[in-house]
């Protein structure tokens, strides 16, 4: 997953990358493993600039799914920082570019929530509920969005 050029580009453009190795950095692994409750490898965390965990990826994923999860982490960081427009853009980019990944329906859900958080206009929630009637119908996210439409 790490050698994938799309993953490399995305990480280098959006994060400061850090690694603690279970054996080679054992003291750091213990310190940060406890701090962030990392009990398995690989565990990859997207942290906001204040070091707060905003997204967690545990276990191996194929390249497309891993990239989509990284993008989800980046979008969730923007969401947590109340950058609603940027968060929506990042969530929609996942749906548009990696629509067959498990992250896509989650991204579609939050792409509807982000503009609502900024405007309190429910139209984005209704539009999201309609979108879930067209795709990803069998997902948990479709069930969650069903209350909006």
């Amino acid at each position: 997953m790490w050698p994938d050029p799309r993953v490399v580009k995305f990480v280098n453009e959006n994060f400061i990358p850090a690694r603690v190795h279970v054996k080679d950095d054992s003291a750091l692994f213990q310190k940060y493993g406890e701090k962030y409750s990392a009990q398995w490898t690989p565990t990859v965390l997207a942290l906001d600039p204040d070091g707060v965990e905003r997204h967690r990826i545990e276990g191996f994923l194929p390249n497309d799914d891993f990239l989509a999860q990284l993008m989800l982490g980046s979008a969730q960081i923007a969401f947590a920082q109340q950058e609603w427009g940027e968060a929506e853009r990042r969530f929609r980019e996942i749906v548009d570019t990696l629509p067959d990944t498990d992250a896509a329906p989650e991204a579609l859900y939050w792409a509807g929530v982000a503009p609502y958080k900024g405007t309190h206009d429910g139209s984005s929630l209704k539009a999201t509920a309609r979108a879930f009637k067209e795709r990803y119908q069998d997902t948990t996210w479709a069930k969650k969005a069903s209350v909006w439409g």
């Binding site: 490399v8 994060f15 400061i16 850090a18 603690v20 190795h21 279970v22 692994f29 962030y36 942290l47």
Partner: protein, 32 residues
């Protein structure tokens, strides 16, 4: 092109706070 993972996590977190940039923290057991 590759990812230059840093291992000085304390410094990374301090820089992230200063630069307002997110961090990707990888807990790994892969051969290095």
């Amino acid at each position: 092109m590759e990812i230059n993972f840093r291992h000085d996590v304390d410094a990374v977190l301090a820089e992230a706070r200063e630069q307002r940039k997110p961090v990707l923290l990888d807990f790994s057991a892969a051969p290095m």
